[in-house]
Amino acid sequence: MEESAFASFYESTKQQLWLYIARTVQDHAAADDIFQESYIKFLQYTPREKHELALKSYLYRIATNVINDHWRKQKRTRKWFASKTEEVPASNNTTDIDMRHDLTDALQHLAPQQRSMVWLAYVEDYTHKEIAEMLKVKEHSVKVLLHRAKQKLLEIFKHKGITSEVSP
């Protein structure tokens, strides 16, 4: 990939990729490292595919792999995949910042893999098949895990008093 092409690709993807990583790992310092490593690996092994959407998908795949490596390293010292059972405090916060904080906080109640799935499905619009390829799981598992993640998050949102203002 040419330097100028990378410059424009980087500018168009950096913010969303960082948010994806940060929301998944829930640690800004680790997110910074994973962010840089993802782009470096992307450049080292750039595919011949020139289409931006395919390149973006490839970048997310790399980032997801780096995140998984990060979890594996973390898992040696801590039980990251232990399910969190503490009660979610009810809240009536209605300001935008508070709501964002609550939403971000709610994501912590999901397993890291489910956080990735939720982000890839609802923010990046990837299909179940694409997500399955990225996370190296079966397509059916993506459906089931996404469904469970959705139910769990909606329950937390309901408990926190967060409602969606969008109506069709």
Partner: protein, 153 residues
């Protein structure tokens, strides 16, 4: 629609993001609990996906340079391995050549002892072959290690 998924999910997701609803979809959504959940999830996720990154991200140039460096390091580590194998093989060959040159009688003895003295070994090495072997070793070492040498400077 099944118990975990609705076939209108992607259309609903797109409609929420673009705020463009068709009448059919609107009718479907009012009676589909999955799609209601999709609307809520998409709306919430949109909120946190449009946040500002709390600090400045590195410039593309920094990433680009780091990638170039990583690529070169990877290439060098492969090259180092090749160099190591090459150096070992040429070193052994050079040593054997040197032994032929300086101690031909040793090999004569060894060959005679095994009873296979069909080849005239001393004749082969007495016409400058050892010198060629040594030069070959030095040139090979130089060729294989020059990238590592310059990369460190």
């Amino acid at each position: 629609m099944n118990n975990t998924h609705c076939t209108f999910k992607r259309e609903t997701l797109k409609a929420v993001k673009s705020n463009q609803w068709t009448n059919d979809l609107r009718t479907h959504v009012t009676s589909c609990s999955h799609c209601k959940g999709t609307i809520a999830m998409t709306t919430f996720m949109q909120k946190i996906s449009h946040e500002e990154v709390p600090h400045t991200l590195p410039s593309y140039r920094l990433i680009w340079l780091k990638a170039q460096y990583a690529r070169k390091q990877e290439r060098l580590s492969t090259l180092d391995m090749v160099a190591l194998i090459g150096m070992s093989l040429t070193g052994i060959a050079g040593l054997i050549g040197l032994l032929f040159w300086r101690f031909p009688q040793f090999f004569d003895g060894a060959v005679n002892a095994t009873g296979t003295s069909a080849v005239n070994w001393t004749g082969m090495v007495s016409n400058g072959a050892p010198f060629a072997v040594i030069v070959g070793v030095l040139v090979t070492v130089w060729l294989l290690t020059r990238d590592s040498y310059f990369a460190e400077r």
